[in-house]
Subunit: 413 residues, 2 copies
Amino acid sequence: MRIATLSIGDELLFGEVTDTNASWLAGRLYGAGVPVRRHLTVGDDEDEIAAALESLAAEHDAVVVTGGLGPTDDDVTARGAAQATGRRLVLNEEALARLREFFDRRGREMHPANERQCLLPAKAGIIPNAAGTASGFHLVHGGALLVFLPGVPAEMTRMFADSVLPLILSRRTERRSVRTLVLSIFGLSEAEIGARLTGIDRSRPGLTVAYCVNYPLVEVKLRGEGEGAPVVDELLAAAAPLVRERLAGFIVAEGDETIDTAVARLFREKGMTLALAESCTGGLIAKRITDLAGSSAYFLLGAVTYANGAKTRLLDVSDDLLAEKGAVSAEVARAMARGVRDLAGSDVALAVTGIAGPDGGAPDKPVGTVFLALADRAGCTVKQYRFSGDREKIRTITAVTAMDWLRRWLLSC
Amino acid sequence: MRIATLSIGDELLFGEVTDTNASWLAGRLYGAGVPVRRHLTVGDDEDEIAAALESLAAEHDAVVVTGGLGPTDDDVTARGAAQATGRRLVLNEEALARLREFFDRRGREMHPANERQCLLPAKAGIIPNAAGTASGFHLVHGGALLVFLPGVPAEMTRMFADSVLPLILSRRTERRSVRTLVLSIFGLSEAEIGARLTGIDRSRPGLTVAYCVNYPLVEVKLRGEGEGAPVVDELLAAAAPLVRERLAGFIVAEGDETIDTAVARLFREKGMTLALAESCTGGLIAKRITDLAGSSAYFLLGAVTYANGAKTRLLDVSDDLLAEKGAVSAEVARAMARGVRDLAGSDVALAVTGIAGPDGGAPDKPVGTVFLALADRAGCTVKQYRFSGDREKIRTITAVTAMDWLRRWLLSC
């Protein structure tokens, strides 16, 4: 089944927003076994939209269109659809009824402009929108199913899952299945991983290995393709153990997990508590920990001791030590980790001190010099790093390195 | 001048990565006065690429292509280009020389597979790549300029700015200019803003007003279009003061500034220092402050007092107060703000305590209940909010509300 996606909107062509709808749809369609073959973006122009629909409908079995269903003058998708399919624009009674009910339910007045959203190509089927004013619609033209959804991501994703994907799958004739297993790798370069996985897909038709850098992690994607899900499952089940073996020790997360959710899960499973002392990462690690609901079960305290005085006042790091060794040193990292662990009374504490840049580097301690210290019941260990990149990259790789250390510590509990 | 962009890559069609190249290019081309008319995405398939190039070249004056120039088997863009333009694939001597120099300069060996990246359509011009192994290339086919760049964003953006944009602009015949002025608005809904700006573009041909939600901010974009830059500048210079007047008090940033960079600038200008005490935002505000280089000039300390015990141990919030009023209360927010200000010795301190969800809500304090407190030399003020949305939305709007309070406080200094 050949599927295309079409995104409509001037804001996309002017680079004001990134097209997240296209990649979301692509991921869902791929996951359902009907990958996208081509994607097109055009502006809020009736003729452009009509031309795009005509050419895509001619070469695909289904086209999923997003955008341009709003109540303002620049929303012309329905007109473009009517033009492309040679239909008249009519006031769709079902869309109008749903629109009225949408406003009634919220105790609000419908604005006259909203009625415009019910002018749709004749005989189009309606796709209900529980979260917004624009009904989606669908029609068949030249053998191709054309589906039209709002561009608002929250509305579109819900309508796609509830109504559109079933509609598309009901028209599928072939039984091809695809599935991807993703492993997040930290500590090996793309080239090193590629070298370790050489030949994995040899004599395994239907299996491909792809790599995607998600700095500072590399995502290894095992893609299986075949006639039906059992074939694909077997393909991946045979290859996956080999991959895990060849990358053992560097796999930080698999499947739906990320390194952050893996750390959260391990904290809960082991029943341990955490405190953080951050200098150059400035709250980034605490933010990543607390991004996840339920973190209050294990995260007690974070000290963002950005100024030297803060390290002294909060964590009892001695002024003399700071003066003698400097804020960015193994000794201060150790003092910070011990200090925050005592302060919080946590099982484990992690401290970070370093130079994120672009300023602050020196010949003996250039930008990217980072000390991490981990304190637990057994004592305190310090590790030193020399990271490269800009400020954002250095903060990010420091945070991930810290997360990975916590992950390994938890696994060893 | 009609421009199209073409992104090549299976990872895009499978939804594994979002196409940031397309929106970056779109923004740059729009900003240079040559907006993109159409964007297409195809997979790593030689025939698909060839077909896409043929159809885009037929209808546009320039096509900017990204992706598929790497050294592995799935990189087939050069082949697709050769097929589309009816040229032979030849070993490009300039590309080879640059590749050898790239490895020499880094003291590394060239892998035989890299030579594949120098097989380009005959008589293509080279676009140098200082940051990677793939040379870009360009050629003219049927009157259209076709430009090929790597998909790696850091490499592509540099090559585009250095070589490609000048090449495109040198072929431009018309003198149309466009420019957009962006104002970030906080505290008004899109509908309220639209109502205040009604009629702004009336009797101003060439001026349009567009709105983009960047939660929880709304970006108002004044777009001016006309024959040459002076005309456009005048259009915007006439309209902008009217817009600023109608949205006075709600404009948090303009042009290249964001609310975060505006706050950073004001801290530096006023010479003030800051301390933060965060509970439900869990380090997010500290992270946003320290994202910006130079924040150590004004940011002293952040206390992420996630557990109640942390509020007591770090900020001297009394156990009795916590027991009596609860962690999420005006009294505790006040105690946290005062406590962290005393601890850090800062000019101003901001504290946050609230319920980010999805758990933790109660009938009298539902999810989204947030108290912000600001302590300075004059005293301490507390504000209460009832935010809605999921955990991420609640944390985000809390952080922006806090940033805006700091902004207003700084302006009043």
